[in-house]
């Protein structure tokens, strides 16, 4: 369960929200507060006012895997292996256990062949995959992805989606500009001007967005 109460922070204004779905897509125009909401939920930012509870706990007490909007800026280490190994190493896992987690996480997102590569030699999309592998390396309880798909082609985005579906995380909070992807989520939050304007199943939310470009292209052509 994700519970938000009286949240006021920068552009964000969310009086009350409780979501019990697993795969939650956050959509809305650029500048509507999606990234800010996700960074509060991930514990990166403390809200000025109000509370956020994930699984009944504050974000700082939850094991969270986070992938930012600019993987270029958030990758810390120069070798892909070390980047993915950072969450288990920071949690003092043993070397054999870390190695096992790194190889499994790389395998899931399909970058096993890049483990020895330099992060600087990766393409934009491969950096997003490395960041995703690192986020999933230490069995997160909640996975938070901030437009991780915006640098990915269709096949890679589908692989990421599969990895996300298969992860053991209780909640996946995913912000995306692909409405066709958002249409496959369990729950959708549509944000505008810092507020959650619509929330509900994809069917409920997109029926209110039918006259806008936020309506999924596949629904537009099939229905």
């Amino acid at each position: 369960m994700i519970r938000i109460a009286n949240l006021r922070h920068r552009v964000i204004d969310v009086p009350d929200l409780a979501v019990d779905a697993r795969h939650i897509a956050v959509i809305g125009p650029n500048g509507s507060g999606k990234t800010t909401l996700l960074s509060i939920c991930s514990g990166i930012e403390e809200p000025r006012r109000g509370t956020v509870r994930l699984l009944g706990r504050p974000p700082s007490a939850v094991r969270i895997g986070w992938v930012g909007e600019f993987p270029d800026r958030t990758l810390l280490f120069s070798r892909v292996y070390d980047e993915i190994a950072s969450p288990p190493r920071f949690r003092h896992r043993s070397c054999p256990e870390t190695d096992e987690k790194v190889r499994a996480a790389a395998e899931v997102v399909g970058i096993s062949h890049l483990l020895e590569a330099k992060v600087s030699a990766l393409s934009g999309g491969e950096k997003a995959l490395a960041a995703l592998a690192a986020a999933g390396a230490d069995d997160p309880e909640v996975l938070i992805l901030d437009e991780a798909d915006s640098h990915l082609d269709a096949r890679t985005a589908a692989r990421v989606q599969r990895a996300v579906q298969e992860s053991a995380a209780t909640h996946v909070l995913w912000c995306t500009q692909s409405m066709d992807l958002a249409a496959s989520a369990d729950y959708v939050l549509f944000m505008a001007g810092g507020m959650i304007r619509h929330h509900g199943t994809p069917e409920e939310v997109f029926s209110r967005l039918e006259d806008t470009c936020f309506y999924p292209t596949m629904w537009r052509i099939c229905r």
Partner: protein
């Protein structure tokens, strides 16, 4: 005006680029998976890097611009107005064009990613180069901003425009489609004939083709019109 590529090869890191073909005047879309060499190919056409084999020959091209995937790498000045001036452009006109009027004295890094993309796209298009290359011009934009970017790109009446993109929902009208896979560039030819051969086509286009429709271009509205024609 054209760019001829003859049997180029270039090894860069894990990728070996290969390809032949001619980019004539009009709008070209180069699609392909992540890491297939799209950005490297842009660097090559911009003559920032050079092939180890084969040749890239330009005919009648006197100016070239490449818009990078990450717009922050273009920034050289502390204010938005100075940034526009550094492109040799008038900030008053351009900021209206980019829908950023009133932001002249702001730090470019205080713009959102979408706003920054809009600024750099407006600058590159306003320079009106003979050869314009746009590396992922739609990534991280919302759908309204993507539609605006499409209109800006379609508004280029002359010269060669090459878009490197994996966008799957909002695309401009284009004249030709190319695909890159594993570093190899393949010309699919001109639109609409190239559309059925396009393996990286967006899902709505694939859906229309599977119904037996023949879209005239690659936009969602082209696919919808084609589907309407066969459904009557």
């Amino acid at each position: 005006m054209r760019v001829d590529i003859e049997d180029i090869t270039l090894s860069r890191g894990r990728i070996t680029l290969r390809g032949s073909g001619t980019f004539g005047e009009g709008i070209h879309l180069v699609s392909g998976p992540v890491g297939s060499g799209k950005s490297t190919f842009g660097l090559l056409l911009a003559e920032i890097i050079h092939p180890t084999g084969g040749s890239v020959q330009r005919h009648g091209i006197s100016s070239t611009l490449l818009m990078l995937q990450f717009p922050e790498y273009h920034i050289t000045c502390p204010t938005i107005a100075e940034e526009v001036i550094s492109w040799g452009l008038d900030p008053d006109d351009l900021l209206v064009e980019a829908d950023l009027a009133g932001r002249a004295d702001d730090d470019p890094f205080h713009l959102s990613r979408g706003e920054l993309k809009r600024l750099i796209l407006a600058c590159t298009v306003a320079r009106n180069p003979d050869l314009l290359m746009l590396d992922e011009p739609f990534s991280s934009l919302d759908c309204a901003a993507k539609q605006r970017a499409c209109r800006v790109i379609e508004g280029r009446r002359e010269g060669i425009t090459i878009i490197f993109s994996h966008e799957r929902a909002i695309l401009p009208q284009v004249d030709a489609i190319w695909e890159m896979e594993g570093g190899t560039l393949k010309a699919l030819g001109s639109v609409p004939r190239a559309i059925p051969r396009w393996r990286h086509a967006p899902p709505y286009l694939t859906y229309a083709l599977e119904l037996g429709a023949r879209p005239e271009n690659i936009r969602l509205q082209d696919a919808r019109e084609a589907v309407c024609r066969i459904r009557g």
